[in-house]
C-alpha cells in the first residue's frame, strides 16, 4: 500500500502556483528526503498532506484517505516553532501537551498518557532534557525533544519540516541517524525536508526533489543527476560527486550549500 499518493496535483498559495499537475506515490515504510530550492514548495507539500492546504486540482490520498487535519496517524514537526524557544515550561510538559491535545477538558495525562510521553522521550533519548525548561535547551537538544512530540499518538507517517536547520554538522548527523532508527524500529513512513542532500545520504530510501512547480521522485542516483535537476532548477546543473559527498553546481556555485548558508545568515540577522 502507498502511504502518500499525489495524482495530477496542483497546489497554490494565493496567486502563486507552487506545484502543477504533480504525480508521485510514496510507499509505506519509506524514508523520503524532500529537497529543493527555497520556495520550491516543500512546506506547502507537507501542509497539503496534513490537509491544511487543499489542492486546486488533482487528488491526494494519505494512508488510504483524503487528507484531513486531525489525522492521528500523522506526526508533524513544523519548521516554525513560534513558541518553543521562549517558553519557560519544562520540556516534558511541552511534549505532553500533544497527548490528546485536541480533546476538550483538563490537561490531565492519566497513566496511559504518562506512559506514552515517557516512551516517546525514551525513544529519542530525551528523558534528561525533558526536565529542563525549553528556553534553556540548545537548538539540537530542542529538536530532539520536539521529535518526541511528533511521536505522541504513535503515528504511521512522520512529517519533519527542516529539522536540520540551524544545527551544526555533528548534530545534523545525529538527528538523521535518530530519525532513521526510529523509522526502522517503528516501521513508519518518514518525509524529511532539507536544504542539502549530504546529511541524508545513506539514511534515506528515496528523494523527492521539488522545483519549478515540478517534482521528481526516485533514488539519489536517479534524481540527483545533471539532467534531472536542470529541469527542476530551469538552468544547467552539474552534479559533482566528491569523497562520498554530492555537490549540486551551477556555473561553479554550490547551490544547496549556498541556499543553506543564506538561510543561516538570514536567521541570525
Amino acid at each position: 500500500m502507498n502511504a502518500i499518493e499525489f495524482t495530477d496535483v496542483t497546489l497554490a498559495l494565493g496567486n502563486r502556483t507552487i506545484l502543477q499537475d504533480v504525480s508521485f506515490a510514496i510507499r509505506e515504510r519509506e524514508f523520503i528526503g524532500v529537497l529543493g530550492p527555497n520556495g520550491a514548495g516543500k512546506t506547502t507539500a507537507l501542509r497539503a498532506v496534513l490537509g491544511l492546504v487543499a489542492p486546486r486540482h488533482g487528488r491526494i490520498v494519505v494512508l488510504g484517505r483524503p487528507p484531513l487535519p486531525g489525522n492521528p496517524a500523522i506526526g508533524y514537526l513544523p519548521q516554525v516553532q513560534s513558541q518553543a524557544a521562549g517558553t519557560r515550561l519544562r520540556g516534558r510538559d511541552f511534549v505532553a501537551a500533544s497527548y490528546h491535545g485536541h480533546r476538550p477538558g483538563l490537561p490531565l495525562l492519566g497513566a496511559a498518557g504518562r506512559r506514552e510521553v515517557a516512551a516517546a522521550l525514551e525513544r529519542v533519548g530525551a528523558e534528561d532534557l525533558a526536565r529542563r525548561p525549553l528556553s534553556e535547551l540548545s537548538g539540537g537538544e530542542r529538536q530532539r525533544l520536539l521529535l518526541a512530540q511528533a511521536l505522541i499518538g504513535r503515528p504511521r507517517l512522520l512529517l519533519l519540516d527542516e529539522p536540520l536547520i540551524s544545527l551544526d554538522p555533528r548534530h545534523q548527523t545525529a538527528v538523521v541517524a535518530l530519525t532513521r532508527s526510529l523509522q526502522q524500529e517503528l516501521g513508519i513512513t518518514v518525509l524529511f525536508t532539507a536544504h542539502e542532500i549530504n546529511p541524508l545520504l545513506g539514511a534515506i530510501d528515496r528523494v523527492l526533489y521539488l522545483g519549478l512547480r515540478q517534482a521528481a521522485l526516485g533514488t539519489v542516483a536517479e534524481v540527483i543527476t545533471g539532467p534531472a535537476l536542470s529541469r527542476l532548477y530551469g538552468m544547467a546543473i552539474d552534479v559533482v560527486n566528491l569523497n562520498g559527498r554530492i555537490f549540486v553546481m551551477s556555473d561553479g556555485h554550490d547551490l544547496e550549500g549556498s541556499a543553506h548558508r543564506h538561510d543561516e545568515a538570514h536567521r541570525h540577522a
Partner: protein, 285 residues
C-alpha cells in the same frame, strides 16, 4: 513580639472581619484573585498580556456608557470587555504582533470613556473607583455576581484548557491535529474579558494587570512545571489580594496601591531569586 502585642494584633484582626464591608471585600477579592491568577497564567503563556490590559480599558468605556443610558456600570463593564475579548479573538491568533492595533483601540476606548464621563458629570466621583478600584465598597450582591462570574469562567477555562495549552505552546502542530486556533482564541479571550471585568471591580480597570499578570508572571519565573505554575499563580494572586486588603485596613492607604506593591515585590523577588551569573548568557542562546 510580646504576648500583649500579639493579643492586640489578634484582637484587631478579629475586629477587621467584624465589619460587613471587610467580609465582602475579602470574599470578592478572593474569588477574583483565583480567577485572575488562573486566567493570567494562560495569558502569560500565550504572550497576550497586553490584550488583557487593553480589555480593562474597553471595559471602562462600557461602564461609563452604561451609566449614561441608566444601566449598572458593572453590567456595561462586563458586556464591553467580554465583547472586546471575543472580537480580539476573531481578529487573529497572533495577538503579540498586534500591539499597535490594540494600543490604538485602547486609547480610543479611554477617550470614549472620558467623553461619556463628560456627558454625565454626576458620575465623575465614581470614575476614580472605576479606574483604580474600590474593593471596600463592594456589596453582597456584587459578591454574589462575582461568584457566579468566577465559577462560570473557571468552568469554561477548565473545559478548554487542554486544547488551549496545545494551541498556545505548539500552534502549528495543534492546527495540523485539527485544533481550531481561532475558536480557542475567541473562547479564551472571551473568558479573559470576564476575568478582566471581575478584576476591575477589585483593583480598577487601570490596574487589572497587577492581579491578572503579576502573579502569573511571578509563578512562571518560579516553576517550569505547568500544574504547579497554575496553582502558584492563583495562590499568589489570592495572597496578594488578601494581604493588600489587610494592609489597607491598618494603614488607610488604598487597597489597590498595596496589591500593586505586593505584586511587584513578588515579581522582583522571583526574578532576583533566580538570578545567578550566566543567566543572561543562557537565555540569549
Amino acid at each position: 513580639m510580646t504576648w500583649k502585642a500579639a493579643r492586640i494584633a489578634t484582637t484587631k484582626r478579629i475586629g477587621m472581619l467584624e465589619y460587613a464591608f471587610m467580609r465582602n471585600a475579602f470574599a470578592a477579592a478572593g474569588i477574583v484573585a483565583i480567577l485572575g491568577g488562573c486566567v493570567g497564567y494562560f495569558l502569560v503563556l500565550r504572550g497576550q498580556t497586553f490584550a488583557g490590559h487593553a480589555l480593562g480599558h474597553v471595559g471602562f468605556t462600557g461602564a461609563t456608557g452604561a451609566v449614561l443610558i441608566g444601566a449598572s456600570p458593572f453590567a456595561g463593564l462586563l458586556a464591553f470587555s467580554l465583547l472586546a475579548g471575543i472580537g480580539m479573538g476573531f481578529l487573529g491568533e497572533r495577538m503579540a504582533e498586534r500591539d499597535v492595533a490594540i494600543g490604538i483601540v485602547l486609547a480610543l476606548a479611554l477617550g470614549f470613556g472620558l467623553l461619556f464621563l463628560n456627558l454625565y458629570t454626576a458620575f465623575a466621583s465614581q470614575a476614580v473607583a472605576l479606574l483604580f478600584g474600590n474593593v471596600l465598597a463592594v456589596d453582597v450582591r456584587t459578591v454574589l455576581a462575582l461568584f457566579v462570574l468566577g465559577l462560570a469562567s473557571l468552568i469554561g477555562l477548565s473545559v478548554i484548557s487542554r486544547p488551549l495549552i496545545f494551541a498556545s505552546l505548539q500552534p502549528e502542530v495543534a492546527e495540523a491535529k485539527g485544533v481550531s486556533l481561532r475558536l480557542y482564541s475567541v473562547l479564551f479571550l472571551g473568558i479573559v474579558g470576564l476575568a478582566t471585568a471581575g478584576c476591575a471591580e477589585i483593583v480598577g480597570v487601570l490596574l487589572v494587570f497587577t492581579l491578572m499578570v503579576g502573579p502569573a508572571a511571578t509563578a512562571q519565573r518560579l516553576t517550569e512545571r505547568f500544574g504547579s505554575g497554575l496553582l502558584l499563580a492563583a495562590g499568589l494572586a489570592l495572597a496578594e489580594a488578601w494581604l493588600g486588603i489587610t494592609l489597607a485596613f491598618y494603614t488607610n492607604w488604598p487597597t489597590s496601591f498595596w496589591i500593586t506593591a505586593l505584586s511587584t515585590a513578588a515579581y522582583a523577588g522571583a526574578v532576583l531569586s533566580r538570578w545567578h551569573p550566566g543567566t543572561i548568557e543562557r537565555s540569549a542562546r
